[in-house]
Every structure is written in structure tokens, then in C-alpha cells.
């Protein structure tokens, strides 16, 4: 690299002053701590900026709107479309209701989200960082507030350097108040995913909401205010593990924002370019006019012309800025553009630019896509297969059986009838394969024992029963049998049932 005379290397972080000699560091120790350089990106317009607007509008609308969507589930279940009901251990998502024992669906979704990140990285590089990550979306939002209150980049930089006079204090307080309002709206919306939104909102403003709701809002308001308003790109550079993981995942076929140095270097102003053209200056001149617009619009404050780096979230705003300048000076767009390392090498050698579609659909991406789709289809299949009536049986182990005075033997069971539908259901619990056996519960008289018992299981509830099964002395021997649970089907309804195999314990035959 150092041999390449076209590349001008610029230090991005505070570095020791260049001395006269080669070994310049010996007499100047660098500070161990670096002050944050203010990042005041200027306004820009272009295709990626418009795409970013669209993604931001979509993400914020989903975040703020989702809890207010209603979904009619009948009188026995909440009518909120998306609800994580921690108190009752239910997760509602439109037509799907997930019970705690079905949490593997959520685990599956999380695995899909993980593979999805791999898929997106493989296809379009750090697109998650550049467009959809909450840190990016809220930082972007807050930077718009910066421009609204303080003005564009230069005004912001000037204000940052200005002394703390009345004007600066007013502007800062106004801006922070808006930050706080956005943060409160952000933190406030979170809690509505965990309880009925209209009710909780009413309770929230009347002071009747649970303490945890207020604490949650306070914490999330603070983190939004701090991370979005002040930490911003430092979260990406210093705190977030994802950029580190991504640097391991990117390869020479990954789309990254590339400054096409073979086209841009050596940099020179329009005047220099004119002189070179007229032969008044020797050598060649590249397309980059060194206007630093790419640096000015960067939300993380880097110079993309130094090459791919951890601070680059590939949001494409520098592409917009450069395209505009190239248009103004009458040069071809795409001096900075999405490009893979392979294609960059190809173009450097004079090859024609390749289609992005080819870069996106490559074997690695297709493998991820296949894996991601397989998990998704598997989850959908399991969702279609699951039953909404469930029986679970736990045999008493102490004592295993009880000898009754007439010679019959009794076993105890803890039985759970799970009605996962949002309506009460009549069910019949019966014995299968236990000759002469009868059952009764601890709330019944033993004399009322029958081979089958009827229970009405309330809507969306697990009913816990202690059930005793009695077998007459002649048949009382250790043997397998099954409990069978059937819902009493209403006309036109598919029958629902479940059975659990278990063992009857009894003294071994003499």
C-alpha cells in the first residue's frame, strides 16, 4: 500500500505530530484518552437519503403503531394485536398465541433473526447498521433535530466552539428538550407492548400504572436521550459488538461503500484540473475534487476515501453527496459507490462495472437464504401442527400406590388439562386400558368415582387436578395404561383430543 503513490493517507484519530525524522514518536507521548470530535453531518439529498427516510418512517411507524393495533379474540382474551403478556405468560401476535411451553417458536424467531443478519450481511454488507439499526434510526432522527435547531453543519460547528452565552444556552436547552420529548415518546411506547395499550396509557397519566412501567419508561427515556442524543456513532465504534462480528463476516464479495481511488486520485481542484488539461501542470488529475462533501455528510464522521473501516455503517450518504458534486462538475456519478473488493480490483484493471445483482445473489447468500427459509417453513409447519388441547400426567412417586382396605389399589396422579383456546371447553377425562379402573379427584367423594369424568376447563387456562385411579384387587397389578382427554365437540367442530401413556403401580403379584 505505501508504494501506491495515488493514495493519500490521512489520520482519522488524534495522532502524534509528524516530526522531521522517521522515528517521530520518541519525544512526544500521545494522550491515553481521546476527546470526542463533534460530528455535525450536513444535509444531503439523493437516492440513499430518500431510502433512509423511508426505512426510518417505516421503523418508527412500526415501533410506535404496533401496540395500538387491535385484534378481536373474543371475550376471554385480550384484543391487542401484539402483546407480550408477561404477567399471564402469554405472547399474542395477531392470530397466533404462544404459551410458555411453546417458547421454541420465539427461539426459532430469534435464530431466524440471527441467520437473517448473516443473510443481509452476505447480500448487502452492513445494511442493518446503515439503515435499520435502532441506534442508526434514532441517531439520524436526533441529527435532524440538530439541523432544525442549530442550523446546518457549519452553524453547528460554530455553535459548538462558541462560548456559553445566552444564545447558546437557549439553543442547547431547546434542543435537549426536544431530545427529551423524543426519548420519552420512545421509552414510553415500549411498555405498551406488555399490557393493554389504551388502559395502560390511561393508568400511566393518572399515576395508577404499576411502578415497573414508570421505571421502564424512565430507564428507556434516559438511554434513548443519552445514546441517541450524545453517544451516537461512539456506540457503533466503541460499544457495539456487531461491527466487530461483521468485520469477520465481510469478504471480498461483500458490498461495501467504496471510494474508487483509481478514478479519483490524485485529487485536485477544478482549477488544477483545468491547468493539467491545458498542459500548464505536469502529470494527471483524478475525478476527486477534494470538496470533502463525503466527509461533511457522514453521520459517523469518517473519511470514506481512507477505505473500508469500522466506523463506516454503509449508509450511502457519502454516495449521495459525491453523486451531486459529480453532477455539478459534469463528471460521471459513482466515484463513491457500493462495490465489492473483487469488483473494485476488476475495475481498477480497467474492467467494466459489474451488475450489483450478481454481487447480491451469490452461493453464500443463497445458502443463508435457504437456511433462513427452512427454519421459517419449519416454524410455520409446527404452528399448523400444534394442538390447542393438552394433557399432562405426573404419577405420584411417594407413595407409589396405596393399598385400600377392600384389597383394591389406588394410584395418585397430578394431571393438567390445558385449554389453549380462548373459550371455555367441556372435556372428558377417561382411562384407557385399565380394566375395572375408576377415577375421582381430591375434591370429590371416593364413592362417586367413575371410569370417566367431565371437566369444564376455563378459557385459556391450565386446570390442575389431583386424580386418584382405583383398580379392584383382582386386576390390581403393575400395568401400562393411558389417560385420554377429549374436548366435547360442538356441531361442525373438529374433535380435539390428547392421550398420555403412563403406568399403574401396584404390589407385585404374590
Amino acid at each position: 500500500m505505501p508504494a501506491d503513490p495515488k493514495l493519500k493517507l490521512v489520520a482519522s484519530t488524534p495522532s502524534p505530530q509528524e516530526g522531521g525524522g522517521d522515528n517521530a514518536t520518541a519525544h512526544h507521548e500521545p494522550s491515553l484518552y481521546a476527546r470526542r470530535e463533534p460530528v455535525c453531518p450536513s444535509k444531503v439529498d439523493g437516492r440513499f437519503r430518500r431510502f433512509k427516510w423511508a426505512v426510518m418512517a417505516f421503523c418508527l411507524a412500526v415501533y410506535w403503531g404496533t401496540p395500538w393495533l387491535r385484534w378481536d379474540r373474543g371475550p376471554w382474551a385480550p384484543n391487542q394485536a401484539v402483546l407480550i403478556d408477561l404477567a399471564h405468560r402469554r405472547f399474542y401476535m395477531f392470530g397466533i398465541e404462544i404459551w410458555p411451553h411453546e417458547f421454541y417458536f420465539v427461539a426459532g424467531l430469534l435464530i431466524m433473526a440471527g441467520v437473517g443478519l448473516f443473510l443481509v450481511t452476505s447480500a448487502v454488507g452492513r445494511a442493518w447498521c446503515g439503515y435499520a439499526c435502532p441506534q442508526t434510526v434514532w441517531t439520524d432522527l436526533f441529527q435532524h433535530v440538530d439541523r432544525l435547531i442549530d442550523g446546518d453543519r457549519n452553524a453547528q460547528l460554530a455553535l459548538d466552539r462558541a462560548p456559553w452565552n445566552a444564545r447558546k444556552i437557549t439553543k442547547r436547552l431547546t434542543k435537549w428538550a426536544i431530545f427529551l420529548a423524543i426519548s420519552f415518546a420512545t421509552g414510553g411506547a415500549w411498555i405498551f407492548y406488555f399490557a393493554d395499550a389504551p388502559t395502560l396509557q390511561r393508568e400511566f397519566w393518572t399515576g395508577a400504572a404499576p411502578g415497573v412501567a414508570y421505571a421502564c419508561v424512565a430507564v428507556l427515556t434516559f438511554t434513548t436521550f443519552w445514546l441517541g442524543g450524545f453517544m451516537r456513532e461512539q456506540v457503533c465504534v466503541y460499544m457495539c459488538p456487531w461491527p466487530r462480528i461483521q468485520s469477520a463476516m465481510l469478504d471480498e464479495k461483500s458490498l461495501i461503500v467504496t471510494y474508487k481511488d483509481w478514478r479519483g486520485e490524485p485529487r485536485g481542484s477544478l482549477k488544477q484540473a483545468a491547468k493539467v488539461r491545458e498542459g500548464r501542470l505536469p502529470g494527471a488529475i483524478g475525478d476527486c475534487i477534494d470538496c470533502k462533501q463525503c466527509v461533511a455528510v457522514c453521520p459517523t464522521g469518517i473519511d470514506i476515501r481512507e477505505g473500508a473501516q469500522i466506523g463506516c455503517i454503509t449508509c450511502g450518504l457519502c454516495i449521495d453527496a459525491c453523486d451531486r458534486v459529480m453532477g455539478q462538475v459534469g463528471r460521471e456519478r459513482g466515484l463513491i459507490d457500493y462495490c465489492t473488493l473483487d469488483d473494485a480490483e476488476h475495475e481498477r484493471k480497467g474492467g467494466a462495472p459489474k451488475s450489483l445483482v450478481k454481487a447480491i445473489f451469490r452461493p453464500r447468500t443463497l445458502v443463508y437464504l435457504g437456511l433462513w427459509s427452512a427454519i421459517g417453513l419449519g416454524l410455520l409447519f409446527m404452528l399448523g401442527q400444534r394442538t390447542r388441547l393438552d394433557l399432562s400426567v405426573a404419577r405420584d412417586r411417594n407413595p407409589e400406590f396405596v393399598q385400600l382396605s377392600d384389597g383394591s389399589v389406588r394410584d395418585g396422579f397430578t394431571i393438567k388439562l390445558r385449554n389453549m383456546e380462548d373459550r371455555p371447553r367441556d372435556t372428558v377425562l377417561s382411562l384407557e386400558g385399565l380394566a375395572g379402573g375408576v377415577i375421582y379427584t381430591d375434591e370429590m367423594d371416593a364413592a362417586a368415582a367413575k371410569p370417566a369424568l367431565r371437566f369444564t376447563v376455563p378459557a385459556d387456562t391450565t386446570m390442575r387436578l389431583r386424580v386418584y385411579a382405583v383398580v379392584p384387587g383382582d386386576d390390581a397389578r403393575p400395568q401400562p395404561f393411558a389417560f385420554h382427554l377429549a374436548a366435547v365437540a360442538r356441531p361442525g367442530e373438529a374433535p380435539a383430543q390428547d392421550r398420555v401413556n403412563t403406568e399403574f403401580s401396584a404390589p407385585q403379584a404374590q
Partner: protein, 308 residues
């Protein structure tokens, strides 16, 4: 050795070490990280002041908040008591035979009884209430003194043959062999008879002799056919359940020396609500009986050989 140099692409100094060609940049930490570190130190100082922190010879420093782990436990226990207070008050206000009218309250009483049982009763009756030799199995349908909830409550409250409680369940089986009432051969004959009526042996000459001895000596309490008598706590002998054992050796010992099982009067040791909950739990173990339709006045004084 440290060989610091400026890394050309980044312009940052290296730390001067090198591992197989891999070097590390000495990138400065962000300044806010330093402030965060100072903030944790300030927090730690505050923590040391507010909470017990500095160990002393006998105790740690108290801390201005006065927090102790024992105090926190006491607070948690008090909160748990407060949470249960309403249910306990409801149980206290409900006569034990009326508990079943309120299924929710009965369920609470059973759960509470299960907890109290584990603390007070498992030592003799076992953790599954299955008993052991000499200690009745509470799961089955055989009851010495009666298996409806009111009777179980009475037995729990006053105990069995428990000195110091006027209303304790009391009866005494004579030691037929030891005291010379029956000869050893007669004891064997009675044992034969008992084993016949309980379906363990076929009738024999010995059991025929024993039947007469049984009618003369045992039927007063155990009934003509060995059906037992709950008023005096005389076990039923013609069933499959044995408290001490139904084999010849054990029965011989029982008839020779008699048995005198004892249970404490729990009314003296536990609060009334806990005793009620224990009664509900024992009654729920599968052998509980319905209350007698028309309850006659529960006779406190047993009619039979109550010698105390």
C-alpha cells in the same frame, strides 16, 4: 522488545509488540470512558457508606441505610404473612366441616396443610403421608378414629393417648400374653383366627379355637367379625391394611404385648388455622370420608376401656 512505530494506514502509534506479524494499535480510549470509570468509583464510595461493607472484628460497618440481610428476610417474611393474612382469616372464620363449601378456600387450606405437614408430620407419617410400621398411612381408606374432616380435625387437635390433653383419643388394649390373660397357645389360636378373617389363611382347627377366644376377649372392641370400632380406635381386622403388620410373628407380638400408639395434641403446639389446614390436607389425601349425614354430638368420652 518494544518497537513502537506509526502505523501508516491509520496514522496511529502501535503498542510496540508483535505476534507473528500481528501488531496492535495504541488507539486512545475515548475520554467518556474515563469519566464512566470515575463514576463507578464514586458509586462504590456511596455504596460503602450506605450499605454494610467494611469488615470489623465482630461485625461489618452498619451503613447509613441500616440494611441487613436478616432484616431483609424478616421484611420478606412479614410481607408473605401479610399476603396470606386474608386467607388465614377466612379459614379461621370457617368451621372445618364447612371448608368444603368454599372450594377456593378448601384448595388454599389443602396447600397450606401440605406445607405444615412437611414441617410437623413427615417425621412419623412420611413425606408422602404413607406412614410406616406403627404410624398410619393417611392416604388409604382405613381410619382408626374416623376419616371425615371434623373427626380428623378432632384427632389432630387433641392427639392420641397424649398426656396433658383432657380430650385426647384414648383406649388401651390389654397385653393378653404378657399379663397372662391368654396362654401362648391361645394367642396363636387368636392369631390364626385373625389371619382367617383377613383372608390370609384358610380355616383350621387352630382358627376354630381362636374364634371362640376372639368372641370372648376381642369382639368387645374389634367387633364380632373384626370390623373394628372407631369410637375406641380399635382397628378393623378383616381388611387388607395393617398398621403393625398382618404376618403371624407381628400379630403374635401385638396380641401378647398390645400396642399403644401416641400422637401429640397439635392444638397445643400449632395455631388453630394450621391445625384446620392440616385436617383439610389429610382429608384430601384420597381416603377422606364424607361427613355423617346427621352429626350426633361428638362423644368426647370414649365408651370403652379407657383407663387413664
Amino acid at each position: 522488545m518494544a518497537d513502537k512505530r506509526i502505523d501508516e494506514p491509520t496514522g496511529v502509534e502501535t503498542v510496540g509488540h508483535e505476534w507473528d506479524g500481528i501488531e496492535e494499535l495504541n488507539t486512545p480510549l475515548p475520554r467518556w470512558w474515563l469519566w464512566t470509570f470515575y463514576a463507578t468509583i464514586v458509586f462504590a464510595i456511596g455504596y460503602v457508606v450506605v450499605y454494610p461493607a467494611i469488615p470489623g472484628r465482630h461485625a461489618a460497618s452498619a451503613g447509613t441505610a441500616g440494611w441487613t440481610s436478616r432484616g431483609a428476610l424478616a421484611k420478606d417474611l412479614a410481607a408473605a404473612d401479610a399476603a396470606r393474612a386474608q386467607t388465614r382469616a377466612a379459614i379461621a372464620a370457617t368451621p372445618v366441616e364447612k371448608l368444603a363449601d368454599n372450594p377456593q378456600l378448601l384448595r388454599a387450606a389443602i396447600e397450606g396443610g401440605a406445607a405444615a405437614f412437611k414441617q410437623n408430620c413427615v417425621q412419623c407419617h412420611g413425606s408422602g403421608a404413607a406412614g410406616s410400621k406403627g404410624y398410619p398411612n393417611l392416604n388409604d381408606d382405613d381410619w382408626l378414629w374416623g376419616g371425615d374432616i371434623a373427626t380428623i380435625h378432632q384427632t389432630l387437635e387433641h392427639g392420641v393417648r397424649y398426656p396433658g390433653d383432657e380430650q385426647t383419643r384414648t383406649s388401651q388394649m390389654p397385653a393378653f400374653g404378657r399379663d397372662g390373660i391368654l396362654t401362648a397357645a391361645q394367642v396363636q389360636d387368636v392369631v390364626s383366627h385373625v389371619r382367617v378373617i383377613s383372608g390370609q389363611e384358610k380355616a383350621s382347627a387352630s382358627s376354630a379355637r381362636g374364634a371362640q377366644i376372639f368372641a370372648d376377649n376381642c369382639s368387645v372392641c374389634h367387633g364380632a367379625n373384626g370390623e373394628g370400632n372407631r369410637t375406641v380406635g380399635a382397628p378393623r381386622l378383616n381388611d387388607k391394611i395393617w398398621l403393625y403388620g398382618g404376618d403371624r410373628a407381628t400379630l403374635t407380638q401385638t396380641v401378647t404385648y398390645a400396642r399403644q400408639g401416641v400422637m401429640p395434641a397439635w392444638g397445643q403446639r400449632l395455631d388453630p388455622v394450621t391445625v384446620k389446614m392440616l385436617a383439610a390436607y389429610v382429608h384430601s389425601r384420597g381416603g377422606g370420608e364424607a361427613l355423617p349425614a346427621a352429626t350426633p354430638a361428638p362423644d368426647a368420652a370414649p365408651a370403652a376401656p379407657a383407663t387413664r
